[in-house]
């Protein structure tokens, strides 16, 4: 029988604080600050006169409105493009790369407007998956904060005049620097080379905010391509490879390939994670060991000694490192070690271990191009700029004033005029751009042609899907123009590709543009691997000689949503809850619980974190699993020139960092001091508590699963006169027989890594409003889909006999310093016996003959009985008119302006104030799929109709389909897993959901971890 770990949703639930209990009982806050702006003392009483006035006005307005019928215009195209039909979506293959994430995408356009990105299944790298950032990037296209014209010192300037001035300035500039993040476009590099040919003394410097400089140096200038599907033992030293490290979408798919289980395949990889902050990857690990950043080198050394041998003794003695090392040695070529550290010494040892293992998961011959930034080169350039040795700088979508640790020095140098000519190609007048003389804003990637080579031999194309919205120019065209090359970048690109594609070029080109991806390698050839910067012995002595930090250690990390901060003005990303902390809108200091207790700090207390005399003030967030003696702060926040949405959220932690061993060190020694002030953190979880019944999420160990797959899931039984029965045998209702379709969804908790891509995908598909920080704090976020994150505690009910019931229950509430974590996507369960449907007084929520729980907005009067009666707490109430209420003009601006509204899905209603809304199982996609099938006089094919969340899932954890079709994937899956892993959340209340979950299996044969 499965042990029953007790799950708690947050510190508040664990402690059962009075406030939490109160909140748990009232889903909706009693205090409704809708009158905040009113300002009167008797805000709770509506004066009678006001009431009458309003009534009178309302009557008059209604009468007037009914008299005049507004004249609406129907304006057709003047010359209709052949492939555009109003009402029919077109999909174009393209590529998203923002300097850190690569995703091959399909762009869904309606009447020429891109409205959503979907994963491109043709891509051998991302294979149909999509990251949350890529999902959200379509909103950045319609960002009004983009610079909409060429500018000189912030004022509008004619394009030709700018070109003339820039050419003149560059001609006599001497040393010219082009500063960018990683560029993986071969043609763009060729353009830069041509530019360098025209202006001698040009150097191109790439840097990365979340740098992999150390990894590059340790591997001789290349980043190995990893294939996690080829690894049975994965040992990660602080590499958040499922969340933010290198190519998370690609890695997530590989990782999960080897972790999907069934009764036929009862094996999966084992994943050890040694890390400081609780990362997304760490929360998915089978064995997670918290350690201080200063211990990381020693931990790697311990594995090195065990696998390779010959190093000096390691001071890291946790026994789990030995287990990991032994497992690795046993796995041989099926083992893999990765590290997220930017320390070349650590990476050198990691490379040596992989080499010794002859790991099949590491491919150095066809390396990844995804990070090419060189920290040493960049810091040298910045020093040269400060010294006034550089004549001209071009910032190509790079914002080092904000996102480089030496940004302040650069800002000072630029302000002091140390560089004569400064040009920004950035899309907005950001922190760096506004200090530049000239601004020639680049197109958004959805307006551009480009090519990419994320991995050697794998090419990818981007094509424009909309006419440029503003008077901008593609950066490559700007560079070509200044270099005196009159060709357009499109022609330039085609010429480049003539050398890549064989056979009939036009045909091959059309196919490449159509598919979005192609195989082959483009010139200039990728950098070849050279000798590593360090050998193992040098690395070991470097690790041994590393300064021992005193006091609290700070580990700076990157968040899934906002990332390096370039997309800070994207409200979808700002409101995407962090997978682990569930916090939105801003950064904070994650501290271990014991430390906060010792300091008598509570969550939300603002502390001052000081490193090397520089400091930031941020609220604290108590993070279970945070290594003792450490704190974590996310980078990418504290923008001041991102735009209205992204400005002044959190603090910029990058200036606190320093260089070590010629690479940016993301760890530092810090001192903390309380400031006595408080700042609430907008967390989405602990707001929507599930009723206190078990079981909601289920998990078991691989050992149990191997023993008997039928014993891993606990099914509740109901006592009846005929003995114990399954809950669905006892019912009040007449069952309905589904004749046509019966839509359902299965979510494999073993595959779900909690990345949040589905959340943003759902938001884009269904026009879900953004509510902003204060409303998230008020527990009124509108996401239809949320990912519940549960921490487990160590105690469980099997201790009843030895410890007694009372003591066991007390132990179950004991804080766990390093809990295991489960993610559970939660949305409307589309119950066949839905409790919400029976309580609606106006029949606004009803059941369809295809199993959908329908929500009819125009019938809803907003009683909220349904939300009250929903056991899953998945219904959302529209407290405001998010598209007209000026309170939301900043955060939800895209619903206010014509420009922003272009992103809305025209097939889905924008909900009005006062109505309930919830997941519709993407009914618009179901209807469309059915219609297409009917038009072709056939039944819909399985896989043709997919909900937005299932489409974007990088790990294919979500399977959507017709449960009436016996051959559909979901039917087969449910048949296979019935009685094994398939379970319904809160099965005992017999609401009979159409969403089924599959029990999570953890690869830990001993129960030390979850027992």
């Amino acid at each position: 029988m499965q042990e029953s770990p007790k799950y708690w949703k947050g510190i508040e639930e664990l402690e059962n604080s009075p406030e939490f209990v109160k909140n748990a009982l009232t889903e909706f806050a009693d205090f409704l600050p809708v009158k905040e702006s009113h300002g009167t003392s008797d805000a709770t009483v509506a004066p009678r006169r006001d009431f009458l006035k309003l009534m009178g006005f309302g009557l008059a307005a209604a009468t007037l409105a009914s008299c005049e019928t507004p004249i609406k215009k129907a304006i057709p195209y003047l010359n209709k493009p052949e492939e555009v039909d109003p009402g029919i979506a077109n999909f174009y293959a393209s590529t998203f790369f923002n300097g850190q994430d690569y995703n091959s995408v399909l762009v869904k356009t309606r009447e020429g407007r891109p409205i959503k990105l979907e994963g491109n299944p043709e891509s051998p790298i991302t294979r149909g998956g999509l990251s949350a950032r890529a999902q959200a990037s379509v909103l950045s296209l319609y960002d009004g904060a983009r610079l909409q014209h060429f500018a000189k010192k912030g004022a509008k300037i004619d394009k030709d005049q700018l070109d003339q001035e820039v050419r003149n300035a560059l001609a006599g500039a001497g040393r010219v620097a082009i500063v960018s993040h990683t560029i993986i476009s071969p043609s763009t590099k060729k353009v830069i080379a041509e530019f360098a040919g025209r202006f001698a003394g040009t150097e191109h410097v790439m840097y990365d905010v979340n740098s992999a400089s150390g990894l590059l140096r340790a591997n001789g200038g290349v980043i190995p391509a990893y294939d996690f599907s080829k690894a049975d033992i994965i040992v990660s030293f602080g590499a958040d490879f499922l969340g933010t490290w290198l190519s998370p979408v690609e890695f997530a798919r590989q990782y999960v390939t080897n972790r999907k289980v069934s009764s036929e395949k009862r094996s999966m990889s084992r994943h050890y994670q040694f890390e400081t902050n609780m990362s997304l990857t760490g929360s998915n690990a089978d064995v997670r060991v918290p350690l201080k950043p200063s211990e990381l080198g020693e931990a790697v050394l311990a594995v090195y000694n065990s696998v390779v041998g010959g190093g000096s003794a390691s001071s890291y003695t946790d026994k789990r490192i030995q287990t990991a090392a032994a497992d690795l040695a046993k796995a041989g070529s099926r083992g893999l070690v990765v590290s997220g550290s930017n320390d070349p010494a650590i990476q050198t040892l990691v490379a040596a271990i992989n080499q010794k293992l002859a790991s099949a998961a590491v491919d150095v011959a066809n390396p990844s191009m995804i990070r090419q930034g060189d920290d040493a080169k960049m810091s040298n350039l910045l020093k040269a700029i400060s010294a006034g040795q550089v004549g001209a700088v071009i910032f190509y979508n790079a914002n080092p004033v904000f996102d480089h640790p030496m940004g302040a020095d650069l800002a000072a140098a630029l302000k002091a005029g140390k560089v004569r000519t400064t040009i920004s190609l950035n899309d907005r007048l950001d922190e760096t751009g506004e200090l530049c003389t000239y601004a020639a804003p680049d197109h958004h990637f959805l307006e551009s042609w480009n090519d990419y080579e994320p991995k050697r031999g794998y090419l990818s194309l981007a094509q424009p899907v909309i006419t440029p919205l503003f008077a901008t120019r593609q950066a490559q065209d700007s560079l070509l123009t200044w270099a005196g090359n009159p060709t357009t970048y499109y022609n330039y690109l085609r010429t480049q590709w003539k050398g890549v594609l064989g056979g009939d070029f036009n045909k091959a080109w059309d196919k490449a543009v159509h598919d979005g991806v192609a195989m082959g390698s483009a010139a200039p050839a990728a950098p070849a691997q050279t000798a590593a910067a360090l050998d193992a012995n040098a690395a070991i002595s470097a690790i041994k000689s590393a300064p021992k930090p005193s006091g609290i250690e700070l580990a700076v990390y990157e968040k899934i949503g906002v990332g390096n901060g370039a997309d800070a003005n994207n409200p979808w990303l700002q409101e995407l809850p962090d997978p682990v902390t569930k916090a939105t809108w801003g950064n904070y200091v994650t501290v271990p619980r014991a430390y906060a207790v010792a300091q008598k700090w509570e969550q939300g207390d603002v502390v001052k974190v000081t490193v090397n005399g520089k400091s930031v003030e941020l609220p604290i967030l108590i993070q279970p699993g945070q290594a003792a003696g450490t704190i974590g702060i996310a980078l990418g926040y504290g923008r001041t020139k991102a735009g209205k949405v992204g400005n002044d959220l959190g603090q910029n932690v990058l200036p606190l960092l320093t260089m070590r061993n010629d690479a940016i060190s993301y760890v530092a020694s810090a001192t903390l001091a309380a400031t006595g002030t408080q700042e609430p953190i907008a967390q989405t979880q602990t707001h929507h508590t599930i009723m206190d019944r078990k079981p909601v999420v289920q998990e078991a160990t691989l050992a149990q699963y191997i023993k008997d797959p039928k014993e891993v899931t606990e099914y509740e039984k109901i006592s009846t006169p005929d003995g114990l029965q399954k809950p669905n045998k006892v019912s009040l209702w007449q069952d309905y027989e589904y004749k046509n379709h019966h839509w359902g969804m299965a979510i494999d908790l073993n595959s779900c890594i909690g990345c949040g891509s589905c959340v943003v995908g759902c938001q884009a598909e269904n026009n879900v409003a953004v509510v902003g920080k204060q409303e998230v704090i008020n527990r009124r976020e509108m996401h239809w889909m949320r990912i519940d994150r549960y921490y487990s505690s160590d105690a469980h009910k099997s201790d009843f006999e030895t410890k007694g019931k009372l003591d066991t229950y007390a132990a179950m509430e004991d804080p766990s310093e390093n809990p295991s974590v489960i993610f559970q996507p939660m949305m409307c369960q589309h119950c066949n016996h839905a409790p919400c449907e029976t309580v609606c007084p106006v029949l606004a929520t009803t059941h369809s003959s295809e199993g959908l729980n329908q929500m009819t907005y125009n019938r809803c009067v907003g009683t909220r009985y349904c939300a009250n009666n929903c056991p899953y707490k998945v219904r959302r109430f529209n407290w405001f008119s998010y598209y007209t209420n000026e309170k939301f003009e900043t955060v939800n601006g895209h619903m206010f302006t014509d420009l922003g509204r272009m992103v809305l899905n025209p097939d889905v209603t924008v909900r009005a104030r006062g109505v309930m809304e919830k997941c519709s199982l993407c009914v618009q996609r179901i209807q469309l799929g059915k219609l297409e099938a009917k038009k072709q006089k056939r039944r819909p094919k399985d896989g043709e109709i997919v909900s937005a969340c299932a489409q974007s899932c990088p790990t294919q954890a979500i399977v959507f389909g017709d449960m009436r079709d016996p051959e559909s994937r979901i039917s087969q899956l449910l048949r296979r897993e019935d009685g094994e892993r398939a379970f319904h959340v809160l099965d005992a209340i017999n609401v009979q959901p159409n969403i089924t979950y599959l029990t999570k299996i953890r690869n830990t044969e001993t129960s030390e971890f979850n027992a």
């Binding site: 009914s66 029919i88 329908q854 907005y857 219609l931």
Partner: protein, 444 residues
């Protein structure tokens, strides 16, 4: 404001004179049903008219049906089977030219002309050097069009008869004739009613006159006693009626009821635009294009069979014909102006569904096989288009409840029809019995 206040009053009179109103409304019904039941010829759908194949000796029915749809979609703008329209009559084409000539001609006529083909050049010159556009049709499709043309040749006499008649009566086929019968019977009814009314009025007047004459006669006689005299001299006291509580009560009640009725009717009509007939920026006539010239609806409304939107044609579609035809018309010049100034034409939208309702044309036309006229009315008779249907939810739902699903030959429905028939075969398999009245079929 005025219209709101005035309308109930004017209608009030109407409501009070119930008798005349009933006659009037039966008139209105009669005229309204007439055109809607009548001809559907120009709106034939892609799946329409398999009956046309019945008398055709050549080609199989499917090919002819396909050819019919293709012909109407691609050729009918410029060609008729038996008449010279813009291009030559196509009847007898197989006798004039072989298929090996027809196929390249349809695909790219200018290429054939340029190649110096004798017949092609002759044809080109004969029709004012007007080029036939190229069509991206497959060989099989062109063959099916020719099969359709061949099948239509046989109906020459009948067709010319029909074409001779104009406008309203153009499409009198079997159903139209039946509809005519119905309309006729309702007309007789009206005439009968009017005659009755007249007879009744005459009767009343005659009786009053007779009564007065009798009274006068009686007054002249001296031999009647006081009681009789009292009867004769009795004057009708209108004040008494006026003052009677019963009368006041009845009149009051009727008045209140009438006002109430009208208010409710008025309130229900708020936002309703049935009959809305705005003036359009260009006086485009559907009667001329769809009615008289029988251009298929889908020729201009290109996406009506494939998209949710029926697509108001862009000027480049107008230019397919009007680059040659009626180039001097002031209305057409407006199109030229729009193209020159690069300003799209701003038509006034007539059919406005609220944003909360999802409607898909292709679902109804392509899948449901519904004629355009079912919802849009006798569009082929409209010089200026008006909103024919109420477009209320009740109107939608009603149709979904009553209309049997068009399941024939559609693999999607095969199993559903079987299931339905096995359970309650007597009841028709309507849209709503397949879930067509559920909320999220139209609201999401």
């Amino acid at each position: 404001m005025d219209s709101i206040r005035l309308r109930p009053l004017s209608r009030l009179f109407l409501a009070l004179s119930l008798f005349f109103a009933s006659v009037g409304s039966s008139f209105a019904q009669g005229t309204a049903t007439d055109p809607s039941k009548a001809g559907v010829a120009p709106g034939a759908t892609a799946a329409a008219a398999p009956a046309a194949a019945a008398g055709a000796p050549a080609g199989d029915a499917a090919a002819i049906a396909a050819g019919d749809a293709l012909f109407k979609g691609n050729c009918a703008q410029c060609h008729a089977v038996n008449d010279v329209v813009v291009g030559p009559a196509l009847g007898g084409i197989t006798k004039r030219r072989p298929m090996s000539w027809i196929i390249p001609w349809v695909k790219n006529s200018s290429k054939l002309v340029a190649s110096g083909d004798e017949y092609a050049v002759k044809l080109f010159n004969q029709y004012q050097k007007q080029q036939m556009p190229s069509f991206q049709l497959s060989d099989a499709e062109i063959t099916s069009i020719v099969a359709y043309i061949t099948s239509e040749e046989g109906k020459q006499g009948q067709k010319t008869d029909l074409n001779a008649k104009s406008g309203d009566q153009a499409a009198v086929d079997g159903t139209a004739a039946a509809a005519g019968d119905e309309a006729g019977s309702s007309k007789t009814m009206n005439v009968l009613l009017i005659v009755l009314v007249v007879v009744l009025i005459v009767l009343v007047v005659t009786l009053v006159i007779i009564a007065n004459i009798m009274k006068d006669v009686l007054r002249g006689r001296k031999d009647i006693d006081g009681r009789d005299l009292e009867v004769i001299d009795q004057r009708f006291d209108f004040a008494k009626i006026y003052k009677s509580t019963a009368v006041r009560g009845i009149v009051g009640t009727v008045f209140v009821l009438a006002v109430l009725y009208e208010t409710i009717q008025g309130a229900m009509g708020v936002g309703l635009q049935q009959g809305y007939q705005p003036t359009q920026p260009i006086a485009f006539s559907h009667k001329l294009h769809a009615g008289e010239n029988q251009i298929n609806c889908a020729y201009c409304h290109t996406s009506v069979y494939k998209s949710k939107s029926a697509n108001i044609p862009s000027p480049n579609i107008c230019m397919n014909c009007h680059s040659q035809i009626k180039t001097e018309s002031p209305e057409i010049k407006k199109i030229y102006r729009a193209i020159e100034r690069k300003q799209p034409i701003q038509w006034v939208r007539i059919h406005n569904l609220p944003d909360l309702a999802y409607f898909n044309h292709s679902q109804h036309t392509q899948v449901g096989g519904i004629e355009c006229q079912t919802c849009h009315g006798p569009i082929q008779n409209m010089d200026v288009v008006y909103q024919y249907s109420a477009l209320t939810m009740g109107w939608c739902i009603n149709c979904h409840r009553e209309t049997p699903l068009n399941t024939k030959g559609n693999g999607y429905y095969d199993n559903l029809v079987k299931l339905h028939d096995s359970e309650n075969g007597a009841v028709p398999f309507t849209v709503s019995s397949n879930g067509g009245t559920e909320c999220s079929k139209c609201h999401y």
